[in-house]
Symmetry: C2
Subunit: 334 residues, 2 copies
């Protein structure tokens, strides 16, 4: 049986162009004892992948040149050689940018509740939802009445951060680009205010929205947008450093005001994290997030592109702000 | 009785010149019920005072123009109108840059153990020692075998940080300027290595000293020196942000690499603090620090200038690195 993969052809400089990807045809491997072959249905593209395309030291190994791109996938078991994993059942796991993956079954999670849309297992019930949950609640620790600011607020992580903060009784201010996204934050997600970082008077808009300062800042973007937020930190505030997407393509040009004096003035805690730090608590978080989804307290916006061949272009959209909600590519029918 | 004060004549720009201070003669106030008049003996000059000379929002109120400079003083009770505070006894407290201060006795601490040098109550047994103790142990939390890096390592705070870290079993690397100071760190204080930030090959020296990376960085200086340290952070490292002296005189020019991507890569915690956050635990710390001093485990270097009129010049020395150890001015005999 034929497989199709997208491999990293070379390491990118700046924004990844088409030339860094290569489509390859291979054979689907037979599952060995304990393995299954999974047909990809929904494939996730995420900002963190940009970091792994570079060779430098980071929190996780870089993608290898010549190997398929990694990433989370929701798929259906096509062939099983593992007890308890029946053909036709849905699973999720790290299977990468390919039509079929043959992997050890114990690297996968079964999707038992198929009443919810399957693609939610790549967003709110997947890595982005877990990231939002643990970052906000374990580092940000918002208290009732505090002000929580989140950047990339309409994105896969940011939208969940803001909605959990609302559930916890905080005042929530979202930062996003353009009218459609900022309206979505207040009108659909129930944020208390939203600010458009692309507008000429972003600084003043932010100041208006933050008359009571910032107690928790959930950082997804870095760069000049965050420099503005840092001017409004309250005493004992917390900065949850989840991402810095503005810096991923040009790290050497990520220059701005140093933050030490600010952190002293406000005695602020700033902490970087990756979701894997909280693996022990994934199950709890999953249960809680499912409950909130069922109660209608968390809404998930997705942007689903169709077609395996569109994975590279869907990935690129993450960096120019043109996607809306969690970016997913549907590569086969459910 | 005549008093002499140094008042803030105007707010400085850049490094404070002589013109921002004014010497004034006043009358010593009589102590009201519950007050004492204290004769200043040792007056402290500290980097944090630069921040309070500016008008901006900070962790504490700015000094007022026309009012005496604030600051810690060790002195002797000249006249008492407060029970339990006998004339001739030594006390410490915030009494500012003046020869006599008439203050409520309950704002002062009695110095009962006069076997230790009195000026220690402005250094290791005063605010700098408390700052080192709480910052290192409450935020940095060094574990046995970890590497602790401290900048401004021969200074009043840094030298205590490094010595406590050694007591706790860490490997300690100090950053200081010039041969005399770097030798002092390894030869007198027992640091495992020291690096001269003024040398041309500072980056390589640092890399050599940090082959095992940095687990705790105690930040006193900010600027390019710290940018270099940040390149060597280990996973789950902690940055204790105590000071950023390189930025105090020109905050608008404190531009450098933004830190968010680094914090994510290493999942580092970075926290600003001021010593007042830990007031509940001052007594414990005091007891512990006295014990370590008595056991010979903490050595304190002081630089004592003589003469009330030399307070401004002693203060300025903090910013060009020319002082060595805790800078104090002796303004009267014990």
């Amino acid at each position: 049986m034929k497989n199709e993969q997208i491999v990293l052809a070379k390491r990118p400089e700046g924004i990844p162009g088409d030339d860094i990807f290569r489509f390859e045809e291979t054979e689907v491997q037979e599952p060995a004892e304990g393995e299954v072959t999974v047909k990809s249905i929904y494939v996730s593209v995420d900002p963190y992948m940009r970091g792994r395309m570079s060779a430098g030291k980071s929190y996780t190994k870089p993608f290898e040149v010549g190997a398929p791109m990694g990433g989370h996938v929701v798929g259906k078991i096509e062939k099983s050689n593992a007890e308890g994993f029946e053909e036709g059942k849905y699973v999720k796991g790290i299977m990468g940018w390919q039509r079929y993956a043959t992997v050890p079954a114990d690297h996968l999670s079964k999707i038992s509740n198929t009443e919810l849309p399957l693609h939610l297992y790549l967003s709110t019930l997947g890595m982005p939802g877990q990231t939002a949950y643990h970052g906000l609640l374990k580092i940000g620790k918002p208290e009732k009445g505090e002000t929580v600011v989140v950047s990339a607020a309409s994105g896969a992580v940011g939208s969940v951060v803001g909605q959990i903060a609302k559930i916890k009784g905080a005042r929530v201010v979202g930062i996003a680009g353009g009218d459609e996204k900022t309206k979505y934050l207040t009108e659909t997600l129930g944020f208390d205010a939203s600010v458009d970082y692309k507008s000429d008077d972003f600084g003043e808009q932010l100041e208006d929205a933050l008359s009571e300062g910032v107690d928790v800042y959930f950082e997804n973007v870095g760069g000049p947008v965050s420099d503005e937020v840092f001017k409004h930190l309250n005493k004992f505030s917390r900065i949850v450093v989840c991402g810095a997407i503005s810096a991923y393509n040009n790290p050497s040009e990520d220059i701005g005001p140093r933050i030490q004096s600010t952190l002293i003035k406000t005695q602020t805690l700033m902490q970087g994290f990756i979701v894997g730090n909280y693996a022990d608590d994934f199950e709890n978080a999953d249960r809680q997030l499912s409950e909130w989804i069922n109660e209608g307290k968390i809404h998930t916006e997705v942007s689903i592109d169709e077609g395996f061949e569109n994975l590279p272009s869907a990935f690129r959209k993450l960096f120019d702000g043109s996607n809306f909600g969690k970016q997913i590519v549907k590569v086969a029918d459910e």
